[in-house]
Amino acid sequence: MASEYVGKVFPPLQADVEKWQLRFFAKAVGESNPIYFDEVAAQAEGHKSILAPPTYVLTLSIAEPDPFQKYRELGINPEQMLHAQQKFEYFSPIYAGDKITFTSRIVDFIERRKGAIKFLIEETDAVNQEGVMTTRFRKTVVIKGNGLNDTATEGKETAT
């Protein structure tokens, strides 16, 4: 049933990299290196502007009012999704002022324990305004129990 997900391509999303949000992110994670929150300091080290830290690209990729809607449309209950693994491959930096286009697709769907646990693997390309691939990332979510085509809630461990 669920192998029909593999190859599904989600509509692209565009997002602007904002200085204020990078500053807020740096504050939230207790970052002390000013290249991540101070444009003058970043430029003094040769950067174009404030540098987005390694995991920020995922934050940017969910910069929409309801990032889970695309899963609901596939019949997956987001409350049953657990973020299990995350991978990033880096090609070029992301800076404040960039505009990133995200394209995502489902690259694998694995069932374990006779379907009691399912792994959905989504790969996303983050390309900047100059057409340069900045990052490719892969998110693995576990879908627990009857989280497919059903709104029942199982309770625990529904997110990370």
Partner: protein
């Protein structure tokens, strides 16, 4: 200003088994989670709303996995500048709770050449103050030819 690598980095001396400087973060508070909810775009109420967490069968709110991964990223970029980071992946092993004081650790696992670059594979782990394993993973970083400025 945080550039410990500049003082100690010696490419020739990097060997399998070497440890990166451990990064220990402050204990996680509700305020930490409120900030990260807003800053990360992850608005899942289970991380910030105790009523929602209890309704889902949890005792309390719990920590975003991506906050834990962000801390590991800080450990890496404190060792070498981010421009040398090639690949970074983690598995979220166990839920991180309020009050947890996370320590991020990296051990050089392999030194190898990739796409013409001298690289290291770094084995990653995060434990809390009770030595409970919360995250595992690995990163690949290229080694600069000279001491980064």
């Amino acid at each position: 200003m945080n550039k410990p690598f500049a003082a100690v980095f010696d490419k020739a001396g990097i060997a399998v088994g070497d440890e990166l400087p451990i990064l220990t973060k402050a204990p996680i508070t509700r305020t930490t989670l409120a900030y990260f909810c807003g800053a990360s775009n992850d608005h899942n109420p289970l991380h910030v709303d105790i009523d929602a967490a209890k309704a889902a069968g949890m005792e309390d709110v719990f920590v975003h996995g991506m906050l834990n991964m962000a801390y590991v990223g800080q450990m890496l970029t404190q060792w070498l500048p981010q421009q040398y980071l090639r690949c970074f992946e983690v598995k979220f092993g166990a839920i991180v709770h309020l009050g947890d004081e996370l320590s991020c650790k990296g051990v050089i696992d392999e030194r190898f050449e990739q796409a013409g670059e001298d690289c290291v594979r770094i084995r990653l782990s995060v434990h809390n103050q009770h030595d409970e394993l919360k995250l595992t993973g690995e990163a690949v970083m290229a080694l600069p030819n000279s001491k980064p400025e």
